[in-house]
Amino acid sequence: MQKLLLLGDEAIAQAAIDAGLSGIYAYPGTPSTEITQYVISSKEAKEKGIVATWTANEKTSAEAALGMSYAGKRAMTCMKHVGLNVAADAFINSSITGANGGIIFVVADDPSMHSSQNEQDSRFYGKFAMIPILEPTDQQEAYDMVHYGFDLSERFQVPVMMRITTRLAHSRAGVQRKSSRKPNELKLPENLKQFILLPAIARKQYKVLLENQVHFEQEAENSTYNTYTPGNDKSMGIIACGLAHNYLMENYPERDIPYPVVKVSQYPAPEEMIRKLYDECESILVLEEGYPLVEELLKGLLNKGKKIKGRLDGSIPRDGELNPAIVGKALGFDIPELTPIPSLVSNRPPSLCKGCSHIDSYNGLNEALEKYGKGRVFADIGCYTLGALAPYDAINTCVDMGASITMAKGAADAGLKPSVAVIGDSTFTHSGITGLLDAVNDKSSITVFILDNATTGMTGGQPSSALGKIEDICRGLGVEEEHIRIIKPLSKKHEENLAVIREELEYDGVSVIIPRRECIQTLNKRMREKFKAKAQEEKS
């Protein structure tokens, strides 16, 4: 078969289709979005009847995937690293229930925070859940590991985590496909109590997981993805995890690495291989993308053994993603003097698109708040977070999805009045609803802006679960009808909107303002497609 040129994300998606997947569930999040996007757009997946869908949030995705596994079929759920925080309850507990059909949690980390609030390392979650973790080095390995991961999951009846990072997720390379296999038939778990985590059962299930640890270690030891490569120079041994292995190789164009190297792409870390390396070498250099997980394991609390170099001793910067130069320096290579960036080059941060409805919403809100002073807008995550930048300077917080409404409530409870929340439509159904219920139940005095641009904008315009439902949801939660206000964010309606906002800021209770106008990107896309379809029609 010919090689396909695929992003790391796409390689995982194609592999899942080929490996007998029955369902993939996800909430979008950079850099994981393209996995599910690919399956949703794949004709092949459609023909095979694979369920591929965006869900309200990562927790609902993970649970749907677990349900599919319960029914004996192969399931995948994908998320960005912070998405796993949302799905953590399902994730950790699924390691206790175990799996029936193969299930893979694909988690995409974003070291250097290209599009994220933090750079948490999901391998710690995998370790916490005590399940096998796969960390592919390149696109081909990402492809191959999906088949392997499903097998591993079914063999040990345990969920498997696949951890990738931005550079693999969003980098393209040639990928060789395998022949495709059939999905599983519907088949309930042999023990129909396996998934009931009542204490008495959970204790038993937990012991099963604990007993499996030695098998997981053995699997990692024998895995073809973990390798030991001998080297003559024993002054240093190198452990290179996942993507870091590429940067190591890049520093030796002839691949003539003088030191012994252990490549780690499957966890628990292969203890025997690492022990051999440790015993024969004078010092160890640990190269890993993310937090110093393997480095900490080796070092221990007292650090009484040999010298361990890595992120903790400063051989590698403590934060940020790796690159060939950082790794080269840690290997002791001279990094040549670089041409500096000329001083006249200015920063070019991302910004709201021309014609974006959020601009008009912020213009209204800013003016209405002038008389109260700054510092009272609790915002959330989405394109509208760019309202933090000049010229809007309109918001004061962005923490985690849904935190706008609940933080505004807390601040209102503390006496801040008015206290304003700004949340996008997709973020609202992701995790804003429960917070709004809290505010309604406590009659907290907050004004909530639900910016309804009818899409999940920031991640590229996936459908929003909130579409057409926002007022009904608010009503259902108990927001008073007369304090659910819909406005059209357009500059020509500025004065009219301003009056509405001013009124609601004065209201002593929960009010919801819904500025509603379609995202300019999805609108343009829709228009282009309409235009194309029309041109097509005229031709035929």
Binding site: K3, L5, L7, T30, P31, T33, E34, H114, S115, R167, L168, H170, S171, R172, A173, G174, L243, N246, Y247, L248, M249, E250, N323, P324, A325, G328, I335, P336, L338, T339, P340, I341, P342, L344, V345, S346, N347, R348, P349, P350, S351, L352, C353, C383, L386, A390, M458, T459, G460
Partner: protein, 194 residues
């Protein structure tokens, strides 16, 4: 053979389509390829780049090492300078001269051009004007690709085939237009290598 290329521009300017065409030509040539892209937040009008690596040997890193890029191909003049730490001393900068101004502190244009003029190996062209003469500024990115083509170490035929492959679905007129744009960029570069 090894070519490490940094494609630079502003989110929305379509640098990934240039990368896709070069990538197609490289794969047709039988080369290995890795191409790191920027998705997500920066695509909203921020600075974006793509690391495109071609080689006749397997490629390890998705990222081009500092000081090793053979070319910076930029569709925006200020962005062509942002990645200079990655350029090798022998490397070429091929840049569009038409500024994309969406920030308040965009540098003075004369200073900017002077800075580009100081680079030891560069080609600077107004791709929009060249494309406009051919009929549409939409072909500006292909003009830029044409200007880069003499430095790519790929057979020109293969690049032309890739254009046919990408625009074929959209009709012969667009194919011809883009082939002309490619040629115009190439000619400019061959006459104006500095």
């Amino acid at each position: 053979m090894k070519k490490d290329i940094i494609l630079a521009g502003v989110g929305g300017q379509g640098i990934l389509s240039i990368a896709a065409i070069i990538g197609h030509a490289a794969v047709e040539t039988g080369l290995y390829l890795k191409q790191a892209e920027v998705h997500g937040m920066s695509q909203r009008g921020g600075d974006v780049q793509s690391n495109l690596r071609l080689s006749d040997k397997p490629i390890a890193s998705d990222l081009i090492p500092h000081g090793k890029a053979d070319m910076i191909l930029s569709v925006e003049p200020m962005e062509s300078l942002r990645y200079l730490p990655f350029l090798s001393p022998e490397g070429w900068v091929v840049t569009n001269t038409k500024p994309y101004i969406n920030i308040p502190d965009y540098p003075n244009e004369e200073d900017l051009m002077a800075e580009i003029g100081k680079l030891p190996h560069h080609v600077a062209l107004d791709a929009e004007s060249i494309a406009a003469e051919l009929g549409t500024i939409k072909a500006a990115n292909i003009v830029m690709l044409g200007a880069a083509s003499p430095f790519l170490d790929l057979e020109y035929e293969k690049i032309k085939n890739a254009i046919v492959f990408f625009f074929g679905r959209k009709g012969q007129d667009l194919v011809d237009l883009n082939l002309k744009a490619l040629e115009a960029g190439r000619e400019f570069a061959q006459k104006n290598m500095n």
